[in-house]
């Protein structure tokens, strides 16, 4: 057997799996979004009609889509900067030469990342309980009145954001820590000899050197956070008053509760388009500021 044949033989299984079970459905998703595929079509394919862009048009006139998009954007716009800030602080602490027992702290801070999101979401649902929850208990000891985290439409999304930050910050922390370790120590050495303060070293050496990593981590986190689903599904079930229904939550309900697969596909595609546009924008703007 020559090398060409061997290569194709080795590639074939993965290519078939990805082609049939990923690329084909992705292409099909767009086609599906142009049809009125629903329960009737599921029963008998002859009921299927081509509706062009009607699904998209109908979505843009649906208040629930806009509110779901609003909740998702809220989650991304507050959750991503907060997550990044916590990740960066944790990475800086772990990188500090004064820190003790670094591997131990690193493992502890990273542990939430590997946990099952559904299981820890269940845990946090009880921690956020108004009466018996320990979150309010801690706030109470600081003199703050109990917050109805999961029952008040204004507080449900902040609660989910806090949970997401706790669950995810460790991931970016590891990447940023590697970024910090890659900055040559001589740079800080030289700045120290020139009398630069810790803050100025951070501002003028650490941040610029870390900028490309921060940008990459930021884009990946934005894309991940746009896919909000399991957290509201478990913690709030979309409530209260649908204040935590995300775009994917809407897609799931539309597709697999009401079986409007055509409309649900349009939702998926719109979300994908928005994610793509936002990460492209970040790349352009961020790339310019990082001076690359």
């Amino acid at each position: 057997m020559n090398r060409q044949h061997a290569a194709w033989l080795l590639l074939a299984p993965a290519a078939i799996v990805l082609g049939v079970f990923f690329l084909l459905p992705v292409a099909g998703a767009f086609a599906l979004s142009l049809t009125d595929y629903d329960l009737y079509a599921l029963a008998d394919i002859h009921n299927l009609r081509f509706v062009a862009l009607n699904n998209y048009w109908a979505l843009l006139h649906r208040p629930l889509f806009w509110s779901a998009l609003g909740h998702t954007v809220y989650f991304v716009a507050v959750g991503v900067p907060l997550s990044m800030l916590v990740s960066l602080c944790a990475a800086l602490l772990l990188h500090s030469p004064l820190a003790r027992c670094k591997p131990l702290f690193r493992t502890a801070l990273f542990a939430p990342v590997v946990t099952t999101v559904v299981a820890v979401a269940v845990v946090w649902r009880y921690l956020f309980n108004t009466k018996y929850g320990l979150v309010n208990e801690v706030l109470g000891s600081a003199g703050i009145h109990p917050v109805d985290w999961l029952g008040d439409p204004h507080w449900a999304m902040p609660a989910i954001i806090l949970f997401a930050v706790w669950k995810n910050f460790g991931y970016n922390m590891i990447i940023l820590l590697a970024g910090l370790q890659a900055i040559p120590a001589e740079l800080h050495e030289a700045a120290r000899i020139d009398g630069a303060s810790t803050w100025r070293q951070f501002r003028h050496i650490t941040l610029p050197m870390l900028a490309p990593t921060l940008l990459m981590v930021g884009i990946l986190t934005v894309c991940g956070y746009f896919q909000l689903f399991a957290e509201p599904y478990v913690i709030t079930e979309g409530g209260p008053l649908q204040s935590t229904v995300s775009v994917l939550y809407l897609m799931y309900d539309e597709g697999f509760k009401w079986w409007n697969l055509g409309a649900a596909s349009a939702i998926a595609f719109l979300l994908f388009a928005i994610m793509f546009a936002v990460s492209e924008l970040m790349l352009r703007v961020g790339g310019k500021e990082a001076g690359t």
Binding site: M1, R3, Q4, H5, A6, A7, W8, L10, P13, A14, A15, V17, L18, F21, F22, L24, P25, V26, G28, A29, A31, L32, Y37, A90, L93, L98, A99, R100, T107, A108, L109, A111, P112, V114, T115, T116, V117, V118, A119, V120, V123, W124, Y126, L127, K131, L134, W166, I174, M216, V217, L220, F226, Q227, F229, L248, G255, S265, L271, F272, M275
Partner: protein, 273 residues
């Protein structure tokens, strides 16, 4: 700030951060050992007055958690073994074998990393329905038998294998497949461990796709069983915590045992940006 004060501050913050990160999990374990209803006392207790395994018994005997546990183990193991084999083969081919269209094809693989899986979910459901994979373990396993991320990871790692080694084996008259099995696979062992633990954890923790494709309770994986249990038994705090412990502890232990490999994979994979 004096160095001693700075040192105290930094280590104090680290201790505080680690406590916040670990507390929900410690609380989960503690409450899972309480008597039913105990966690709803005021003020909420941190430790059980008298530890009991009652909730775990209830979970396995009455709530069917044993079945979910085995389902999870079966699905995650099958995905890990199969996708490991397929991703290793493809990743090596991309890294070390020359064939027409290789670079274009690999660009395609990298492009796939940017497409969120949710876009494919609705048509995939319709594709799997006629072939009987909806409400079947295969519905979760088959689409996960290869991943763009896994191929990418193996390819990055396999590029480090020296070409001279492969040439020497060829001169000795070894066939390409024999070289792959005898020469290449032993060299890929570290990335095999990394990819296995990564895949296993992802499969074990996965929620949305199994929720869609596994419609009957008898096929539920742990996250699905736990989510449906949480909707039925919302007030049984102690029982739910036992369910969370049973779900989380296996992956936490696996991570602790192989954490070096896991973190390496995380860093290798993040270079894609």
């Amino acid at each position: 700030m004096t160095p001693r004060l700075a040192k105290a501050l930094i280590n104090g913050l680290l201790i505080g951060g680690a406590l916040v990160a670990l507390f929900p999990m410690l609380w989960m374990v503690s409450v899972s050992l309480m008597q039913p209803g105990e966690a709803s006392n005021l003020p909420p207790p941190l430790l059980p007055a008298q530890a009991t395994l009652h909730n775990y018994r209830e979970l396995f005997l009455r709530a069917g958690m044993g079945r979910y546990w085995l389902n999870s183990l079966l699905v995650s193991t099958a995905i890990t073994v199969l996708s490991l084999a397929f991703n290793l083969m493809a990743g090596y081919a991309f890294a070390k074998l020359r064939f027409a269209g290789r670079d274009a094809l690999f660009k395609g693989v990298v492009g796939m990393l940017a497409i969120p899986a949710q876009v494919a979910m609705l048509p995939l459901f319709l594709l799997l329905k006629p072939i009987g994979l909806v409400n079947h373990y295969g519905g979760v396993i088959v689409p996960a038998m290869a991943s763009a991320f896994g191929i990418f990871l193996v390819r990055q790692y396999a590029r480090g294998i020296p070409d001279e080694l492969l040439e020497a084996a060829r001169i000795d008259g070894a066939g390409e497949l024999r070289i792959f099995v005898r020469v290449v696979l032993p060299l890929l062992k570290p990335i095999m461990v990394t990819l296995s633990i990564y895949t296993f954890l992802t499969a074990w923790n996965d929620f949305m796709w199994p929720l869609i494709v596994l419609t009957g309770q008898e096929h539920y994986t742990l996250p699905l069983g736990l989510a449906s249990l949480a909707r039925e038994h919302a007030t049984d705090t102690e029982l739910m915590m036992a369910g969370s412990v049973v779900t989380v502890v296996p992956v936490l232990l696996l991570f602790l045992a192989l954490q070096r490999y896991y973190l390496e994979g995380l860093l290798l994979g993040s270079v894609k940006g």
